[in-house]
């Protein structure tokens, strides 16, 4: 069946009762919340009661496709997955590429809302309108690759799309992931553990329908123009050539490379972890695009020497080679590929896994923990074999070390004590991604207020570096002057962060990859709004688009406020706020509490949030039309 982009359909699945229910999204919500992450955020707020156990039946796993996902809009294959995070106890959204979202829409579904808890392992099979909950005991315990292959074989369709957890998700590792389309990770915050807590091993999707935009000719003409603009962006070229890890040499040269648990900002030999090295030395064997993307930043790699085992896998991304490579003091390409493959197959977030291990390495070297705590593992910086073994033990929660680190760095530091929170690179319970927030003040603010914890995957302020004319133009648009394209400045950071929040949220709600709107800049609020108007056949402008982004950011804030989060939770890891950059061009820089307070004051005022608590005020919610959604938590 070929259908329009609206009305949008929700498939509710209750795994306790084993039943399903179909529901329509109110049409006005598509305009107000844009779709994807926006509507999913509203559903999460409404469906998951405050104080719910993240690993209990009341938590919901919500999968929201972008409103333009499945159309010809460029790089629009992203899908949002939401739940209450077991790692942080707060709001969690992860975004995943691949082809799952488009397939879901071709099957006739825009949202999945999965609640309850099955008594036995199951998988959810969706073939158009035929939805079945099937036994999965035979898959339980399998790695993501094996389970994916088995499902395709069983269902007789090698092209079906899957979302699968590995042993880590089954075992409740608090940073376990869901692997989608075999190679695309929905990774942060323990979303895999939520799926595992419901005894849901996998979701399979086969769709045979299609989507029709309302005004086809202008829609596709504009989409084509946007593709051409994207192709011209230097960022796009580098993403194709080298993938995200192409940034390694630049970061190392600028003294911004996260190394040895953020205690260093450069690392000799780090180029071995770069996309350039993987291309030139023959590790890269292929590239692949997500749905409707012409950039193809996704990598396929192989090992050459097999020193740590044979690798034939996707990735690794920049954050992965930093977290499992330089942060652990390792600049060995083969080791990084093995660690990446292990995380993918076991189903774990590489960022959190790497930082949990690098915290343990620093603790070991400081003699805060010993080989008695690591079950004999010599967990020192540079020990690649120890990293690989630690990953396996974490996924199975094996021994003292595996069980300790499986709970994330915050809980591990709480348990070990002895001041080890000072080198636990986390805030709100989430391990920080490898951006040094001491020297980039927009990033510092964005990370501190990020509802899921400190990373670049809810808001990215890359433009503040001003490294391209497009980036400087973005900063000029926001602030009125491109002189603010300097990450060391604190002025105008609140404006820059809030604008990027809105754009990031809108991009994800429509299904766009944020690389196209906040790393490259060819996708922008104006052309996103125009595409939306053509897609829906209704007037829709840039202001409505940005308001949609603002609404989802506000709902996310209210979700956390209901869970008890307050201003004091808007912080950065201890090391970022108390230890200065040790060397390099940014030596001595820091984002301390006083500086962060100044940034937060500006940011809260701009949002209309209470300065003391950080909770949105009632009048702010009224202005945004959100009183009926989250008015109960107004500050």
């Amino acid at each position: 069946m070929i259908r329009s982009l609206a009305p949008q359909r929700i498939l509710n699945v209750d795994l306790t009762r084993g039943d399903t229910r179909v529901e329509l999204v109110p049409e006005e919500d598509v305009i107000k919340f844009l779709g994807g992450r926006g509507i999913a955020a509203k559903l999460l707020f409404q469906r998951v009661p405050g104080g719910s156990d993240p690993l209990g039946p009341d938590n919901a796993l919500i999968i929201g496709t972008g409103t333009l996902t499945g159309t010809g809009a460029p790089s629009s294959g992203r899908t949002s997955m939401l739940c209450k995070s077991p790692l942080t106890g707060l709001y969690l959204k992860v975004s995943v590429g691949g082809h799952l979202g488009a397939e879901l829409r071709y099957a006739g579904w825009d949202y999945l809302v999965i609640t309850g808890k099955s008594p036995q392992p199951v998988y959810l099979s969706i073939t158009d309108d035929r939805v079945e909950i099937k036994p999965a005991s035979h898959l339980w315990g399998q790695g993501t690759r094996q389970a994916d292959a088995r499902l395709k074989e069983e269902l007789g369709d090698p092209t079906l799309q899957t979302a699968v957890i590995g042993p880590a998700g089954e075992n409740g590792v608090l940073f376990s992931a869901i692997l989608c389309s075999r190679f695309n990770g929905a990774s942060r915050g323990g979303i895999g553990a939520v799926m595992g807590s419901k005894k849901l091993k996998a979701i399979t999707v086969q769709g045979h329908g299609g989507l029709r935009v309302s005004e086809g000719e202008p829609f596709h003409r504009l989409a084509d123009a946007m593709r051409h603009e994207l192709a011209k962006d230097s960022g796009t070229e580098s993403l194709y050539n080298w993938g995200t890890s192409g940034s390694i040499p630049g970061l190392n040269e600028m003294g911004m490379l996260a190394a040895r648990n953020f205690s260093q900002v450069t690392l000799e030999g780090a180029d071995q972890l770069s996309g350039q090295h993987m291309l030139d030395d023959g590790y890269l064997i292929g590239r692949e695009s997500c749905f409707s993307c012409s950039t193809a930043c996704h990598r396929f790699v192989r090992s050459l020497e097999h020193r740590w085992g044979e690798v034939l896998d996707s990735g690794p991304e920049l954050e992965t080679v930093l977290a499992l490579g330089s942060e652990c003091g390792i600049v060995d390409t083969e080791s990084a590929l093995v660690a990446n493959q292990l995380c993918n197959d076991l189903g774990m977030d590489t960022i959190s896994a790497g930082h949990a291990i690098s915290w343990a390495m620093e603790s070991f070297e400081r003699e805060v923990i010993s080989s008695l705590d690591t079950d004999g593992l010599e967990l020192r910086f540079g020990n690649a074999a120890a990293v690989h073994e630690a990953l396996r033990r974490i996924a199975y929660r094996e021994g003292k070390l595996g069980d300790l680190l499986a709970q994330g760095t915050r809980r591990a530091a709480d348990r070990v004590g002895q001041g080890s929170h000072r080198w636990a690179i986390q805030a709100k319970g989430l391990e920080q991604s490898a951006v040094d927030t001491r020297m980039a003040k927009g990033y510092a603010l964005a990370f501190a207020v990020n509802p899921r914890g400190p990373d670049h995957l809810m808001t990215e302020t890359f433009a503040e570096f001003g490294l391209s004319k497009e980036a400087r133009e973005v900063i000029r648009t926001i602030t009125g002057d491109e002189k603010y394209a300097d990450p060391h400045l604190t002025e105008k950071r609140a404006e820059i962060v809030r604008w990027h929040e809105d754009v990031y949220g809108a991009s994800e709600a429509l299904g766009f990859c944020v690389f196209t709107s906040t790393a490259a800049f060819a996708v922008n609020p104006r052309n996103m709004a125009q595409l939306m108007a053509h897609a829906l056949g209704t007037p829709f402008d840039e202001e409505q688009l940005m308001l949609g982004g603002r609404r989802m950011v506000t709902i996310e804030r209210c979700f956390n406020a209901r869970e008890g989060a307050r201003r004091a939770d808007d912080r950065l890891p201890w090391r970022m706020m108390n230890e200065r950059v040790p060397a390099g061009p940014n030596q001595g820089m820091i984002t301390d509490q006083a500086m962060l307070d100044g940034l937060l004051n500006q940011y809260y005022a701009m949002h209309g949030w209470d300065a003391a608590t950080g909770i949105p005020r009632a009048e702010t919610l009224e202005t945004l039309g959100l009183l009926d959604v989250c008015g109960d938590v107004a500050g």
Partner: protein
């Protein structure tokens, strides 16, 4: 320009000369007052056939002087000083 009285700098390139996926480090002598723009022009004249350096557009390059992007200095007009370390590579994005 090269090896005349003046200043000595270190030039590092990445990904611009054949298969240099590790940093190529070149001590280079320059005349006093040389700017980053002058240096790039000089490097282009020395590029080998097939080197990306010969044809790459300037605005696609990330150029650092002592680790600082030239956008925070005086751009292509940044005047080099004795002992400076200059890095040239293609811009990258995404993470």
């Amino acid at each position: 320009m090269e090896r005349t009285a003046g200043i000595q700098v270190i030039v590092r390139t990445f990904g611009l000369r054949g298969r240099d996926s590790s940093l190529t480090r070149m001590p280079t002598g320059l005349s006093a007052g040389t700017t980053v723009g002058d240096l790039l022009a000089h490097l282009r004249t020395r590029a080998r056939p097939g080197d990306r350096l010969a044809s790459v557009q300037s605005d696609t390059l990330l150029v650092l002087v002592n680790g600082r992007p030239i956008q925070y200095l005086s751009g292509w007009e940044t005047v080099l000083r004795d002992g400076d370390e200059i890095t040239c590579m293609l811009k990258t994005a995404g993470g």
